[in-house]
Symmetry: C2
Subunit: 393 residues, 2 copies
């Protein structure tokens, strides 16, 4: 008995006027309205939020969900946190509550409000998602951690800095271009990879060698929400259609030094297990939304998906496989790079984008006839890994 | 098919030398050893932690669980946060994962390391569990919020400040006395309520009128852990015995101004619903561990439990009902007031204490022949409420 997605909401992404409370409430109300479900019928609410404490001085965000509708008062509301995968963690918890028989209808909200802080402040809060004593406290930042991946990848596969830079620029350009069709995206830009390479150093500085500014995803405010239903409830409401075929969560050591710097080891396991549960292969996927917090992460995701063998991530780009219209469009929404990355919201955002694709109501590029979509959402430097596969019946 | 508790661990509570990482690892290893379960057989880990970010600059604590044992690598590990009820929230999530069929064996750890910060720092971090814009940011602290309850209670029930002070001093003294038998407790003290009343103002100053220093629970480091098992797995292992008869979670508005200041409205609902699910009444309980973050909260808990009618909390104390040996011993461990209150660990701590009571291996006073125990754990000013009922078969 699969869990179904019967309603969605996605906010604009960017530097928004709304507070974290406003974003939470709008997202919840939007998803309820989309599913035409009454708040009174919701059995529980799960909130994915990375650091309301660090960004907004608000821990214990869960009870604020009652402001969505007074009929949510007294219901169980829970915040789940696994860094930038907090949104997927909230989906997983809600799905288990439904499968446990504790809920027929669940509201899942991912939300983050990051732009209150300046760049130094955001960098500090994000660094708390790394192993603090071994990484963040020593001055390691997330661009620094993903630069380690970029270097590990070049070294393992004998890739020159020039070739890597071109590859990453092509990922950047693809995602900015994809975002042009996405009315909610933070940074749409109709550009070519040559535009990225040609930017003067001042306008695309090195952030952490070899990663430059345009290899980094954005600092964003945003929220997204889903209504999940048991199969029986979805059918009763006449809203069955998009089902969770698999949701797999794997964990690796928090500190990057304890694991591979050239591949997402735990991510591969999550994806392969999800394929097994959904009884599909990568060839069955119609699109994927993956965690391009840095461009190198998208390249490693191509390989984790099994779209191309390890070390051949560039083929996915060079052969046009991951373009809209290609074999497996990756991040047709623009991804974290160009849609934006409100970190605790991102897992739910990906799931909403995937659902809308499967409903034929894509936010942005529609992959015609899409029946199976995948999201791959990571927390930290891929210590927390979630792979979600959604299917249209 | 009930979920069973088959292993427990409880750290010392107080100002400890161990880091948050050490506490987490010791707790996990301790519970595995107690249940004699292999890490490889654990299907998932859930961590209750309030503010690793605020206290320790460590969000994304979940992957650190792999340091408990390398065989936990790649398994799902999730952090759950609902303020001082984070521990109960983690138990609830793990229970649902088992009931969903996603896990047969789950490790649940509650952990908090608070004493790194000075009093002002702790007060600020804790205030993030209140509604920040309407409470914390305006200077409202948790002693202040519970002082509102104390004033609301006096006003509604026409209780004089002197009578309230005597009542609260009796709660304080009972819990310090109970802690004398608890080798893990932070502040055991064989005292009488007169000792509390007689303390000079300098040694028991007003923190937030009418609450004084000795009405407040402690700033603590500590961790506790449980192994949960499906009924089938518990029986297979020969460890069935203590089962979760009910675990109910209710939520109220985060800001106290939006709800009653003289009772725990949502808490009453959680407790009543738990009684229904467990098919018991208050008369069937052999003991309770309740959330005495401030002495007034314990009095309100007596009433939420239905032990005495609203406004008659003092009867529970005056008639000796809640003493060890009384009708319903409350906080035989010493409670948050004297055992200590490592906030994100507290829900798991209560569940461990209850399990050990039911096993006849109490940490502290043993209630002879105890068969049914209850825990009542709250987050914020009772916005998040969890009632757990455990039964010995």
């Amino acid at each position: 008995m699969a869990v179904h997605v019967i309603g969605t909401y996605h906010s604009k992404v960017g530097k928004l006027e709304e507070s974290i409370y406003d974003l939470l409430v709008q997202a919840g109300q939007g998803a309820l309205a989309d599913a035409r479900v009454q708040a009174a019928d919701i059995d529980g609410v799960w909130i994915g939020n990375f650091s309301g404490g660090g960004f907004n001085s608000q821990e214990h965000l869960a009870p604020c969900a009652i402001d969505i509708h007074p009929d949510l008062r007294f219901k169980p509301v829970t915040r789940v946190e696994n860094a930038c995968a907090s949104g997927s963690a909230a989906i997983a918890a809600a799905k288990q509550a439904i499968e446990a028989g504790d809920a027929e209808l669940a509201l899942v909200i991912g939300v983050e409000k990051m732009t209150n802080l300046d760049t130094a402040g955001v960098t500090k809060v994000l660094a708390m998602a790394s192993h603090w004593p071994e990484e963040g406290e020593l001055g390691m930042t997330f661009p620094g951690l993903f630069a380690e991946y970029a270097k590990g990848y070049m070294e393992r596969h004998n890739i020159s800095p020039e070739d890597l830079r071109t590859l990453l620029a092509k990922v950047t350009a693809k995602n900015h271009r994809n975002a042009v069709a996405n009315p909610l995206a933070q940074m749409p830009w109709d550009c070519t990879y040559q535009d990225i390479l040609d930017r003067p150093d001042k306008k695309n500085p090195v952030v952490a060698e070899p990663l430059r500014l345009f290899d980094c995803s954005l600092v964003s405010d945003g929220a997204a929400a889903l209504i999940l239903a048991s199969e029986a409830k979805a059918e009763e409401l006449g809203l069955a259609g998009i089902e969770i075929a698999a949701l797999v969560h794997t964990t690796d050591y928090l500190a990057l030094d304890k694991r591979s710097k050239s591949e997402f080891v735990a991510g591969k396991q999550a994806i392969q297990k999800a394929y097994e549960l959904a009884q599909i292969t990568v060839d069955d996927l119609d699109f994927a939304e993956v965690h391009d917090c840095f461009t190198i992460a998208e390249v490693l995701a191509y390989e984790a998906l099994g779209l191309v063998p390890d070390g051949q991530g560039s083929r996915a780009i060079e052969e046009g496989l991951v373009e809209v219209g290609g074999k497996l469009p990756v991040n047709p929404s623009g991804g974290l790079k160009a849609k934006g990355h409100p970190v605790g919201a991102t897992g739910v955002s990906m799931a909403v984008l995937a659902t809308r694709q499967l409903q034929g109501q894509a936010i942005g590029h529609q992959v015609e006839g899409a029946k199976i979509g995948l999201t791959y959402n990571i927390g930290g430097s891929a210590a927390s890994n979630y792979c979600l596969i959604l299917k249209r019946n």
